[in-house]
Symmetry: C2
Subunit: 218 residues, 2 copies
């Protein structure tokens, strides 16, 4: 009976933390507040979560599981641009209530050494599930990708998505209208770019891009 109780306490703390993060943001919420709202001692939060950051990792994990069916449902239509827009929109919708506190996390977005970065090893699982969705979108649409690009294109699209999300997080316009515009315009541009870039004539251009991508990936 100890285990169940333990799991309940853990859940209670996580819930309190996410509530507060949503209400006031990540940095503005103290661990003492989290513990208070969960009606436990400060130290107990650290018994269950090694750090404030780790709470967030749990949130990612939950998001991954929640998103899986939503993303699958978004995979329909023959046009790449609609699929891309759908995949990305799903994330916007899902994360909408947490947009503010995601901002605090994305602070460290670029640093792969930071455990909270989407590029960090800690986020590998989440990242790879997401990557798979882009692979699928490319496969199931009428897009033809040259062999030399096929291996890298999903990751390029994923990075494009991360850029959009970053923009969205800091987009202060009403209802993130600017991001919506950007999504629409850029998704079309990306599709055109892929179509044009796939022309046999474009092989040298692809070589250059690939060279770049390979340096980026190390």
């Amino acid at each position: 009976m100890r285990e169940k109780k333990s799991a309940e306490t853990r859940a209670k703390i996580l819930e309190a933390a996410l509530e507060l993060f949503r209400e006031k943001g990540f940095a503005e919420t103290s661990m003492r507040e989290v513990a208070n709202r969960a009606k436990v001692a400060t130290g107990l939060a650290y018994y269950y979560f090694a750090s404030k950051d780790v709470i967030v990792h749990d949130f990612y994990q939950k998001a991954k599981d929640d998103l899986a069916p939503l993303l699958d449902a978004a995979q329909k239509g023959k046009k790449l641009e609609t699929r891309l827009a759908a995949l990305i929109s799903v994330k916007f919708k899902y994360f909408e209530p947490n947009r503010k506190f995601l901002g605090a996390l994305m602070g460290h977005a670029a640093d792969p050494a930071n455990p909270l970065s989407p590029f960090a090893p800690e986020s590998k699982e989440v990242r790879e599930q997401d990557l798979a969705q882009f692979v699928r979108a490319l496969e199931e649409t009428e897009t033809t990708v040259p062999a030399d690009m096929a291996a890298h294109l999903p990751k390029i699209l994923w990075m494009y998505q991360m850029g959009l999300i970053l923009f969205w997080i800091y987009d202060r316009s009403e209802g993130q209208a600017r991001t919506m515009k950007l999504l629409d315009a850029s998704v079309r541009m990306v599709s055109v770019l892929i179509r044009l870039g796939s022309l046999p004539l474009m092989k040298p251009a692809r070589k250059t891009v690939l060279e770049l991508v390979e340096i980026l990936e190390g």
Copy 2:
């Protein structure tokens, strides 16, 4: 005589802070340590610098002044790609000793609300001097930029540079070799892109890009 003394104390604190930041990084240095090394009370550091972050802003300002002549010296040659590479290399060289502690700052790079972000109003002065260098590089090289692009291209190049710097900061390869490769390859690609994009035939493509840029700039 008060003013001179005051300026000396301020300088002493700034010096101590930057020393420590270089030695141990930004986050790892405490204000108490800074004050100790400067042989003053903790509170005095806050009398001269409103926050730990503000010390960094002073560092930016100093960098701006130091860099000005170096950047001017780098403005030679008729090829855009050599100028771009030169302008960016100058910054790599100059910031090399502070690479580690820049990483800590760039943590918040993407958030324009963060005072330390290169996109923040606080960094306006520095950013604009830098922008001017790209304007000059475009003017003084044999690059011909279509009228519709002229207004935006410098900012695009500046953002390209910021991306490279971000990569450089987190580049763990020996001597940042990967960044050097990336600089070389990407500078060539950027030049080609500008040349190709300037073809009259490319007007529709430019329209699309401009649409995007205008959304990005809000």
